[in-house]
Symmetry: C2
């Protein structure tokens, strides 16, 4: 595979970018960090990517030892998952996530795909990078019409996405629609408080207070 995107620097940063600097590569890794995905899961999640480019990128990532292809013999289903080498790109995604939250967020565009699970992944990563901790383990659930409900959990040390598995009552449930949820995340200060005021939130006073603190929602009028 004649890489055209070479820099010819003797430098670890340049070497890394030669491997995962092409368009889409890091976003594929981002989505696989949530767990193994099928081709069409990735296709949908990446929104604008064409099958051709997803195929090519997956092959490149595979031959770079970042992604593995799991195909059960007999089954037709193919699952792509990260190797250990690929999972170690986590800190790169986390650093981009922090910078993006701090310096590159804006409200969602009309045609933009809003994946609830992905937005909670970003929140968990940001909280972990910022060292935000709750006093006790807790769980939040966010519900919107178009997405399966998603949960984020603080286990006493770090924040993680939660799958569908065990449903002990979460400390707090937010009900909204995906658009409003995204606008909530993109806004700051009073604007964020205004959007928050229009969402339905169920939970104890302490839980709500901590949620407001975590998202820096001013107490406002």
């Amino acid at each position: 595979m004649a890489r055209t995107r070479t820099y010819n620097h003797f430098c670890p940063v340049a070497r890394s970018l030669e491997v995962i600097g092409e368009k889409w590569s890091l976003l594929i890794v981002r989505d696989l960090l949530r767990g193994p995905q099928r081709f069409t899961d990735l296709l949908r999640g990446l929104n604008n990517i064409t099958p051709k480019w997803l195929t090519l990128r997956l092959r490149e990532l595979e031959s770079a030892g970042i992604v593995e292809r799991d195909q059960e013999p007999g089954r037709k289903e193919v699952r792509y998952r990260l190797t250990e080498k690929g999972a170690q790109l986590g800190p790169v995604i986390a650093a981009l996530n922090v910078w993006g939250v701090d310096h590159a967020m804006r409200p969602p565009e009309p045609g933009e795909g809003i994946l609830l699970a992905r937005s909670l992944q970003a929140i968990a990563s940001y909280f972990n990078s910022r060292g935000l901790k709750a006093e006790v383990p807790l769980e939040w659930e966010i519900r919107t019409p178009d997405n399966p409900p998603a949960r984020i959990r603080f286990d006493g040390e770090t924040w993680r996405l939660r799958g569908e598995d065990p449903p002990p009552a979460p400390a707090l449930v937010v009900e909204s629609d995906a658009q409003a949820w995204a606008e909530f995340l993109a806004a700051r200060g009073e604007d964020r408080a205004a959007v928050f005021a229009r969402m339905r939130v169920a939970g104890g006073d302490d839980a709500v207070a901590f949620f407001r603190q975590a998202f820096r929602i001013p107490v406002g009028a």
Copy 2:
């Protein structure tokens, strides 16, 4: 500026990559993290970039608020430097550096530019990411024929590049040529020990022992 590289995801990682994901952008930031640079400094350091693309990328980074252009009135000299927003890309570069050192290094290619200062920047960043600490503050100097001598210093807490300014005797001096120094960094285990054996090292026994430990040079034959 009609960004062609848009992803249309509501996601901080995708937003970041829309700003700094184009070819060369992050490498310009990498070089500016060492301090302000002139156009031709960057041109030389980036090795294969053409003036046209360097100009375009600098304009983009400027209008994104990542880079500032300093031009003394009357003087022709222009210096580019990072804004605070740009400096906060440091953790992104650091994460790419760690991954590159762990998973993407290989010996230098023949035509490859080897900048001593940049390689020490990468080492300092890697040591800091890995939490390597010395028991006392210390300084190393690396000398090669083609580059100005470069120094790296541990101040008791973090590792930093040192400019040319104050020259109290470093704890350890390595004399080599740039090619051998790069091969030393690219090698592991016994290979690294073999290259190390061919370099001239001056310093106290403790200083040399710590250097070997920091670079994981086996004691060997």
